[in-house]
Symmetry: C2
Subunit: 311 residues, 2 copies
């Protein structure tokens, strides 16, 4: 089997798209067609999530390389939601989509290992291709995720600079005393995290593909384009997963700095702008067209305004 980065690159080249469709199912936003399930038990509601997400997967599978289910929304429905998540992941993988589980997990030692096994391991009930991870607990807590991921040719995306307004509270703090892998001073916390990821991407265990990218990624928001561009050069072997495009206010051009000149190295997430690109009161199947058109449009914007046009 190809490694994570090779598979992601193949999917991007096949679709000529760096777009990730975020699967954020919300009861209050689903098309009215699902109303009877939405007002039912949590198992009915989970069935609505399952059906809607699988339907979206059908609509976008030939247009994009990856989908990103947001675990929180499935967890909100309890065990029923977690079962729906497993079914959605399996369906997406059957359709050749790379699945990025957005769980932002993080813990120490054997607990980190358990999270990694839960979502990325060989006997995982969810069997995702990659998982988002929070670095606050330290570099030693990233290693179990990387080890489990590597054993199954999966990937890990570490939060660096998030897209929310308050991301600066801690991430932007000026720091001193951080480890300096390049001899260059990291000036902020998020830069320090990025330098550690760069160092990890240069270790012998890292699985570099033919395009110079590996199984380690960083989450960097489209809402901070200058930082995005700087971070691209700090960690050239790491994928950048860029949220904040679309409903959160980032434009396609804002994501351009995250790409390598060949159009690889970055994937751009859009959730609400695609998933709910329809009149919520619509009871016809117009929303099928609306979701597909929103995906096509996002692809066109990314090809026009970023190096993804070179794919």
């Amino acid at each position: 089997m190809e490694n994570f980065s090779q598979r992601l690159n193949s999917a991007i080249r096949r679709t000529r798209s760096p777009l990730v469709v975020g699967l954020d199912p919300r009861l209050s936003l689903l098309p009215k067609t699902y109303e009877s399930l939405v007002t039912g038990t949590e198992w009915d509601q989970a069935q609505a999530f399952r059906e809607y997400c699988c339907w979206v997967i059908d609509v976008v599978a030939d247009l994009v390389p990856a989908v990103k289910p947001q675990l929180a929304f499935f967890e909100e429905l309890g065990p029923a939601g977690m079962q729906a998540l497993a079914d959605v992941v399996r369906y997406a993988r059957e359709k050749q989509l790379i699945v990025i589980g957005d769980g932002k997990r993080g813990d120490i030692g054997t607990t980190a290992q358990a999270y990694a096994a839960a979502y990325l391991g060989a006997t995982s009930a969810w069997g995702m291709d990659s998982l988002t991870v929070n670095p606050y607990l330290g570099v030693d807590t990233l290693q179990p995720f990387l080890q489990v991921a590597r054993a199954r040719q999966a990937g890990v995306f570490v939060l660096v600079k998030t897209s929310n307004p308050g991301s600066g509270d801690f991430q932007d703090l000026a720091v001193t005393g951080g480890e300096l892998p390049h001899g260059a001073d990291p000036t902020t916390l998020y830069q320090c995290v990025a330098q550690h990821l760069d160092r990890l991407s240069r270790e012998p265990a890292a699985e570099i593909d033919g395009d110079g990218l590996c199984e380690i990624g960083a989450v960097v928001g489209a809402t901070y384009p200058a930082q995005l561009q700087a971070l691209r050069s700090v960690m050239p072997r790491c994928w950048l997963l860029i949220p904040g495009f679309g409903a959160q206010g980032g434009s396609a051009a804002d994501t351009a700095g995250g790409f390598h000149p060949d159009g690889l190295g970055a994937i751009v997430n859009s959730s609400r702008a695609i998933l709910y690109a329809f009149d919520p009161a619509d009871r016809s199947h117009q929303w099928v067209d609306a979701v597909r058109q929103a995906t096509v449009l996002a692809n066109e914007q990314l090809r026009a305004d970023t190096p993804a046009g070179n794919l």
Copy 2:
């Protein structure tokens, strides 16, 4: 209903104990009695987790105020594990134990809200009394957790200084430019997080109890006793949840600095040293005694070497 801090205080006074029993079920460590379930399907394995955790709850319920299920270990068993978690939480609450869900969740905006609703909300499938949360994404991402928690008289424990060897990689970085609620310079990232928690604990929305404590807590490892003592004075209204006691190497005396003089304000977690305080090959019911004795011993150590003796 009493608020979170009142309930926690009542439970601590009733048991004269600040000890939290960490529910970290591991297939490889369960008593041999569970062997047939352990080698079965994931539903069998989840049943072993359910039975063992509920049995531990029976053994310790009159000795300790709270239990802390570690979500990762339940997630490792997929939806079956998540169902077992719900049953374990319900059972612990029936036994008057405060349940601290150790999930270290964190995300932005409506996603944070979904996590909070999932574990702390009025319609939560798990219905925990509190949840651990990761602050890396910023102070704005803590607010949805606090809002949902307050609506159900629940609590939130935010990671500040974790117990693992690598916790210093980012948490100990010297920072400048952080918000300075007291006019005092936070010198490290973890101190900056602590100052923000102190500020949140002084807002009108905070639910202060008769002992001057509120529904906001901080996670601070027993493995860093000097930092623990300093942090106690930085955020006097916040609970400190102290992991690292027992198997991770922290002694009872190492946790003393986390308490107020009256013996309140801190809770100390022990997981493996209690849960697996028996000969793993034991097929008799000696492990019932071993787990109870380990709990009694931990209580005695905490009463002897910390202000919990004043309870």
